[in-house]
């Protein structure tokens, strides 16, 4: 069969110097379902953006339907017959299905009017041709997610897409909806369309993909027939390491339970059950690492623990004291500190100065203020001290945080949270997007906190980090704890992969997690 898409030697370096694609070559055959799998940050999304014209590579060529193409924008890609279904659906919720479908290339009547009937007819037509039932005159906001996604697929087909890119399409779907989607994709394949499918979920990949490309560390590891690879093979290729990660010796003593959760559940705004019955405990003097592919409930779990969200069900205890229902400030006062996963969203106010950012959890207390008056002298001294202790590179303490580098902004956050001297530290993606030097520094700080007898709960999508630092490891998949590794020195990244990807799960986890 002929290749519909030929990607050769793509290299993409972002302005901040991050290499996202290194010599990436993939060939996608016409009329197949081709899956691209890889860990977070392996370079899948960048590759898709390059193919769809959202971003342009430094090197390499793309050929589509036998011709070399050079897309300047997604428009160009759409014109040539490539469609993309984004993870966040691109639909206007107050418009009807038909209106969303024809938006931008509307059928007209008498030159100026929208042709409503034609619009609906076209919708029915394209829906029937691909056997994708949708109600043409219903508004998007009245439809379930699965149908909305189908509209998105139809949108691409209506624009005569031959190649459909789906970015983690099942992440927002229920299992039933996923099944329906897969039937759809198979139908499209039968219709001669080609599908490029990004996923983390190996069972799904095995179920529908003809070919699989595995990416790791910005490179393509291999492209194979899906039939030739088992789920274990793929997971091995995805997380496989050439060298075993160096481990840091664990502290000798672990103490009493400091942080404990029982039966935590959470339903989000989109009606999705993101956490189901999560129970675990963290002891003094240990780092409990939570491994998992992003988007499996970690973000919500951390927000629940820190009082930023309230659980739909279940309880959280710090030193046997129930903290659910308490405000974020009360939770902090009980002795919990928090390095948030997105430092720009929660960690800092980027237009405010370094010193203002370093006091957000303590400005109202002595010695930083007295009777509501801020004591700037103390605050400045405090800031200078932290800047020195945590090696924060800044021109001065009044510099706005947004003029610092990513690593130094993260150090501002870490400095504030660690200097709060907490009993429990919740560290979420503590070294994401920081340079190697800052990463080392932050790792040694986390170790130090552990050795001081604090309880640390670390969430990370970076398996190396989890393996390197954790005293024990939990794996989360689809909002549930699926594995508990009491002794990380006994496992490698390959062993964790199948749990993270939903291939395997341990039974009877209950009591053991609290060990």
């Amino acid at each position: 069969m002929a290749a519909i898409l030929e990607v050769k030697n793509i290299e993409k370096i972002y302005p901040d110097g991050v290499i996202a694609n290194k010599d990436v070559s993939v060939s996608v055959e016409e009329g197949t379902i081709h899956a691209i799998v890889g860990e977070n940050g392996a370079g899948k999304s960048t590759l898709m953006k390059v193919i769809f014209g959202i971003t342009r590579p430094q090197n390499g060529t793309i050929s589509f339907q036998g011709q070399e193409v050079n897309f300047k924008s997604p428009d160009d890609a759409i014109q040539q017959g490539i469609g993309m279904v984004h993870q966040h659906l691109m639909l206007a919720s107050d418009l009807t299905v038909a209106e969303n479908l024809v938006l931008g290339i509307e059928p007209k009547r008498r030159g100026i009017f929208l042709d409503d009937h034609e619009m609906i007819r076209l919708t029915r037509e394209v829906a029937q041709r691909f056997s994708l039932e949708v109600p043409p005159d219903k508004k998007i906001k009245d439809l379930p997610i699965g149908i909305r996604q189908r509209v998105e697929i139809l949108k691409a087909l209506y624009r005569k897409a031959e190649l459909l890119i789906l970015d983690e399409p099942t992440a927002v779907l229920t299992p039933q909806e996923t099944e329906v989607l897969f039937r759809t994709l198979k139908q499209l394949k039968a219709n001669g369309k080609t599908i490029l499918f990004i996923s983390h979920k190996l069972r799904e990949v095995k179920e529908i993909a003809d070919r699989v490309t595995v990416m790791r560390d910005s490179q393509v590891i291999t492209t194979e027939d899906a039939a030739k690879l088992s789920e274990e093979d793929i997971s091995h290729l995805m997380v496989g390491r050439d060298i075993r990660t160096e481990r840091i010796p664990q502290s000798e003593t672990t103490g009493e339970v400091v942080l404990e959760t029982k039966g935590l559940s959470f339903v989000n705004e989109d009606e999705i059950f993101v956490l189901k019955d999560v129970s675990f405990s963290v002891r003094a003097g240990e780092i409990l690492g939570l491994a998992g592919v992003e988007g499996n409930g970690q973000t919500e779990l951390v927000k629940l623990l820190t009082g930023l969200l309230q659980p739909t069900d279940g309880e959280i205890f710090v030193r046997s004291k129930a903290i659910s229902g308490l405000s974020p400030r009360k939770v902090r006062e009980i002795g919990l500190a928090h390095i948030p996963e997105d430092r720009m969203e929660n960690g800092v106010a980027d237009q405010a100065s370094v010193k203002e950012n370093l006091i957000v959890d303590r400005y109202y207390k002595a010695p930083y203020s007295r009777r509501s008056r801020l004591l700037w002298k103390t605050i400045t001294d405090h800031t200078l001290d932290l800047v020195k202790r945590f090696h924060i590179l800044t021109r001065n303490v009044d510099t706005p945080v947004n003029s610092l580098s990513g690593g130094n902004i993260q150090k501002v956050v870490v400095a504030r949270e660690l200097s709060a001297d907490p009993d429990v530290l919740i560290a979420s993606q503590p070294t994401r997007g920081v340079d190697v030097g800052s990463e080392e520094h932050i790792h040694s700080l986390l170790r130090q906190v552990r050795d001081e007898g604090k309880a640390v709960f670390m969430v990370s999508a970076d398996l190396d980090e989890v393996l390197k630092l954790s005293s024990r490891i939990l794996v989360i998949y689809n909002g549930e704890i699926v594995a508990h590794i009491p002794d990380p020195s006994m496992v490698s990244a390959e062993d964790l992969g199948p749990y993270m990807l939903g291939v395997k799960r341990q039974e009877d986890l209950g009591a053991e997690i609290h060990s």
Binding site: D75, S93, L114, S265, V267, E271
Partner: protein, 334 residues
């Protein structure tokens, strides 16, 4: 019957309501179109003022009603385009930009008025043109209704018509579809190749067109001169009307009707013992209440969705998922 009720049920009152409504419907629709497009334009007051002024001036100096109409419309559209340029190109906050536009219009019209006529109050020294009144042949002979509906300024009929035009524009043309799409989800519109900035610019220019018609009516129909700050807050009331009407043509029309009635009532009531200030207050209080009720409804709906999802999940969830009550007990027992 009391004299008040007498006058309210008179056909004069109905006639007055339509008259008062006209300069509200136009700008209200003008605001609605920008709100739908996601570029709230609160400079209707200024747009109306500029058009009212240029209509009178051009009419007086050229003697041509058509040129006056064109001048008024062009200046309104230009105001919309200018706001678009500031907001979309120069990245001015649209609220502050619009406040500046209003200020500019108020000052600039009086400034020019003085320069051109030596008068700062009004154009009474100029011979202003007026849009004609229309007597509808059949309608006028119907008792009561004919007295209410016939004999209005042509722009009053245009205003009633414009609500219908607005409906077709927004719901039945590609531009309207794009305006709605851009307002709701600009990313979605962008993803299918729509130039979001351009659509928003068109919305602002259309808003200028509507505002211009409202302004022209004020100075060349409602009265026959331009007076300083003659819009007297109608551009703001229009925003209230559009908000109350949910930016939809019928709703906006009904809201403008309410505001117009209240306004007319305030004029009629002056002779009776009810303080007119309280009557005139009603539309604004109503808008504040409507705003609150709308926000509460949106919030309630979100809440409900969440609760329903919870129930469903527990209904269909795997058996090892404990129901909420049981889980609570378990949590509490330790």
């Amino acid at each position: 019957m009391s004299p008040l009720l007498d006058s309210i049920f008179s056909s004069d009152f109905g006639f007055a309501v339509l008259r008062v409504m006209t300069p509200l419907i136009f700008p209200a629709l003008g605001f609605a179109i920008t709100d739908l497009a996601g570029v709230v334009n609160i400079s209707l007051e200024g747009m109306m003022l500029m058009s009212a002024f240029f209509g009178v001036i051009v009419g007086a100096f050229t003697g041509s009603l058509l040129l006056a109409l064109l001048a008024g419309i062009l200046i309104g559209i230009a105001m919309g385009a200018a706001l678009g340029y500031f907001h979309l190109k120069l990245k001015t906050d649209i609220i502050l930009g619009a406040i500046a536009m209003n200020m500019f219009a108020s000052g600039f019209t009086i400034f020019l008025l003085y320069v051109l006529t030596g008068d700062k109050g009004s154009t009474s020294s100029l011979k202003s043109l007026v849009f004609p009144e229309v007597h509808i042949p059949l309608l006028r002979s119907i008792p009561v209704l004919g007295d209410i509906l016939s004999g209005h300024n042509v722009l009053t009929y245009a205003a009633l018509l414009s609500a219908i035009v607005f409906f077709f524009l927004i719901f039945k043309t590609p531009l309207g579809l794009r305006i709605r799409a851009v307002g709701q989800n600009p990313d979605a519109a962008r993803s299918v190749g729509i130039n979001v900035d351009r659509v928003q610019l068109y919305a602002l220019m259309l808003s200028g067109l509507f505002g211009a018609l409202g302004g022209l009516y004020l100075s060349m129909g409602y009265v026959s001169w331009f007076a300083r700050d003659m819009t007297a807050g109608r551009g703001w009331i229009a925003i209230a009307a559009a908000t109350l009407g949910g930016n939809m043509p019928l709703g906006t029309f009904l809201a403008a009707l309410l505001f117009g009635s209240v306004n007319a009532l305030a004029i009629y009531i002056a002779s009776v013992n009810i303080p007119s200030e309280l009557i005139q207050m009603i539309p604004y209080v109503a808008t504040v209440l409507a705003l609150a009720l709308y926000a509460i409804r949106v919030q309630k709906r979100r809440q409900k969705i969440k609760e329903e999802a919870l129930e469903e999940e527990y209904d269909s969830g795997p058996p090892d998922n404990p129901p909420p009550a049981a889980a609570k007990q378990r949590g509490g027992s330790s």
